[in-house]
């Protein structure tokens, strides 16, 4: 592919400050506490997924990293400087959530327009090739499909040739093919030493493409570690059954069960290991009937984790963090 060498970062310095360093970052909108004191460090060259359901505070966090909104408390630095300074120096490229494009320009013209704002942009044709926009290049931006629009938005973030690339739910409007080629390009960029932070609510994306996943829920970081570990944590299944007699406390003590609830005649068990749990359940309560085992949605899993965090204090994420980043 042409121009790939352009993507390489000029010289890596060992003493370079963290790409992103956020300390007890907080933001409230009226009565809503969108972000409640999060710490986040992203080292140069890392690919980090910011994982969480809608309303977890991902976009608000990204807005503060980009200097689009001021934190109420705490501070954030980008490459050791203020967000404004890093952005003024053209070090950061970003694809924001839910943006559209301005009209009355061709795709090529729009990319060239953005390129003209940066000190060391990529070539316009290279960017078009990287994002697979060759066929759409001379089309007006208002005539593009949703998937093409996302690609152009990606191109807009990329043409700046940034050291740090921030993407807020980049694949939301993409089709399957678009997603695949998008992540291929991302892998390529990561291998060239770019630092990448992307927000997503797809666990699979974090698992497949990130070195590290930071799990957010309710404005807090609830876990921070290798994606496989996060996947194990949120890979919760639930067992539902009709079981009129059992005590909730007793059900909670079954192996593989993290929480139990009773709804009239029915019980619901949240399980970290549903295989062990079902065996134990049937052994202990053979009369259980109407049994269903289902994978919990991510939303449910996140809620579970948030609940776990508030009952255990901050012990859970801290232990994970220690395991994730041996120093």
């Amino acid at each position: 592919m042409p121009g790939r060498e352009l993507l390489a970062c000029p010289g890596t310095h060992l003493e370079t400050p963290a790409a992103i360093e956020a300390r007890s970052l907080s933001k409230r909108y009226g009565s809503i506490e969108a972000v409640r004191g999060i710490d986040l460090e992203v080292t140069t060259g890392e690919t980090v997924a910011l994982l969480g359901p809608n309303g977890a505070g991902k976009s608000t966090t990204i807005d503060m990293i980009l200097g689009l909104s001021e934190p109420d408390d705490g501070a954030v630095s980008v490459f050791g400087d203020t967000p404004a300074a890093a952005i003024g120096g053209g070090l950061v490229g970003a694809m924001l959530q839910s943006g559209a494009l301005i009209r009355d320009l061709s795709v090529r013209e729009l990319i060239a327009m953005v390129a003209s704002l940066y000190p060391q942009p990529l070539g316009v044709d290279d960017t078009i090739a990287l994002t697979g926009l060759e066929e759409a290049a001379s089309q007006r931006t208002q005539k593009l499909s949703g998937g093409q629009t996302q690609r152009v938005r990606f191109a807009v973030a990329l043409v700046s040739n940034p050291r740090l690339l921030i993407l807020d739910e980049p694949t939301v409007a993409m089709d399957v093919e678009g997603r695949r080629s998008f992540w291929e390009t991302m892998r390529e960029l990561a291998s060239r030493g770019k630092t990448i932070l992307f927000a997503t609510h797809y666990l699979e994306e974090a698992d497949a493409y990130a070195d590290r996943a930071v799990l957010m829920a309710g404005g807090r970081v609830v876990a921070d570690g290798p994606p496989t570990r996060i996947k194990a944590m949120v890979g919760v299944r639930t067992i539902r059954a009709t079981l009129p007699v059992a005590e909730v406390a007793e059900l909670t003590r079954l192996p593989g069960v993290t929480a139990a609830e009773r709804h009239g005649q029915a019980i619901v068990l949240s399980c970290s290991d549903s295989d062990s749990a079902i065996r134990a359940l049937l052994e202990r309560f053979p009369e259980a009937s109407d049994i269903e085992i289902a994978a919990a949605g991510l939303e449910e899993a996140f809620l579970e984790l948030t609940a776990a965090q508030s009952s255990l204090g901050a012990a859970l994420p801290r232990s994970l963090r220690a395991g994730a980043q041996p120093s």
């Binding site: 976009s59 807005d63 980009l66 200097g67 689009l68 909104s69 952005i87 003024g88 120096g89 053209g90 950061v92 970003a94 924001l96 959530q97 839910s98 943006g99 559209a100 494009l101 301005i102 009209r103 009355d104 320009l105 013209e109 729009l110 060239a112 327009m113 953005v114 003209s116 704002l117 940066y118 000190p119 807009v156 700046s160």
Partner: protein, 245 residues
């Protein structure tokens, strides 16, 4: 960063926009021939001392250039709605360069509208010495300064849905009060309001044809005051307008 390449693309977008052509170029031309055409031989429009073709030419220059200046507001409103303004904020384009590009684009569009109207005026027999053409043009360019700020201000306050009617109605009202359609003399009830409105002073630029000064001190003060106030408000609106829409 230099804002020049950026301004070039802004211009390209603007001239490709059909709404701009209709409001700032076609509409004033059609109105001009409708109103001034039948009175082309009137040498003294309602005692103003100015010929009908010249008076209405400048009146409609005021109309067209105000539209052109304020159309930057429509572009800003749609850019905000598309999230583009936020995208620009995370680029090295400084707010100063952003404003410069917006104002420069608006002025170039206003100049285009002005040239078109001058040509129309000439076909209806408007004849002025070169010095007076230049003097008149300079006054109009200066008189448009508050409208450059007003366009940016409205663009950061209104939505794409509301800005169309706001600009259309606003320009019509400002043109009416400013005297686009009939000369405002001291006897006219509108005069006491009009002299504090910048559009009045745009229309007054036609008085260069009478010799002497077209604007008195009050004219300069009104234009300067509106420019200062609207610029401050536009800057404030831009600063506050950082959120997601």
């Amino acid at each position: 960063m230099s804002a020049l390449p950026y301004t070039r693309f802004e211009l390209l977008r603007t001239v490709r926009n059909r709404r701009f052509f209709i409001l700032s170029l076609v509409f004033p031309v059609v109105l001009y021939f409708l109103v001034a055409g039948p009175q082309r031989s009137n040498r003294d429009l309602l005692g103003s001392g100015i010929s009908a073709p010249l008076y209405y030419m400048v009146g409609l220059v005021a109309f067209g250039t105000m539209s052109a200046m304020l159309s930057s507001g429509a572009r800003i409103a749609t850019e905000r709605a598309a999230g583009w303004t936020r995208q620009l904020r995370i680029s090295p384009l400084s707010p100063r360069a952003y404003f410069r590009a917006k104002v420069l684009t608006a002025y170039l569009m206003a100049l285009l509208s002005m040239v078109v109207m001058y040509v129309c005026g000439a076909t209806l027999g408007v004849h002025l010495p070169a010095g007076e053409w230049l003097k008149m043009t300079a006054l109009i360019v200066i008189g448009l300064a508050p409208f450059a700020a007003l366009g940016i201000l409205l663009g950061h306050l209104l939505t794409p849905e509301s800005i169309g009617p706001a600009l259309g109605g606003g320009v019509a009202l400002l043109a009416f009060v400013g005297g686009t359609w009939f000369p405002l003399t001291t006897h006219n009830f509108l005069y006491s309001i009009a002299q504090f409105i910048p559009s009045y002073w745009l229309v007054q630029a036609s008085h260069v044809a009478l010799g002497g000064r077209a604007w008195d001190l009050k004219g300069w003060l009104v234009i300067a005051a509106w420019t200062v106030v609207l610029t401050a408000l536009a800057r404030r609106a831009y600063r506050r307008d950082t959120g997601r829409l």
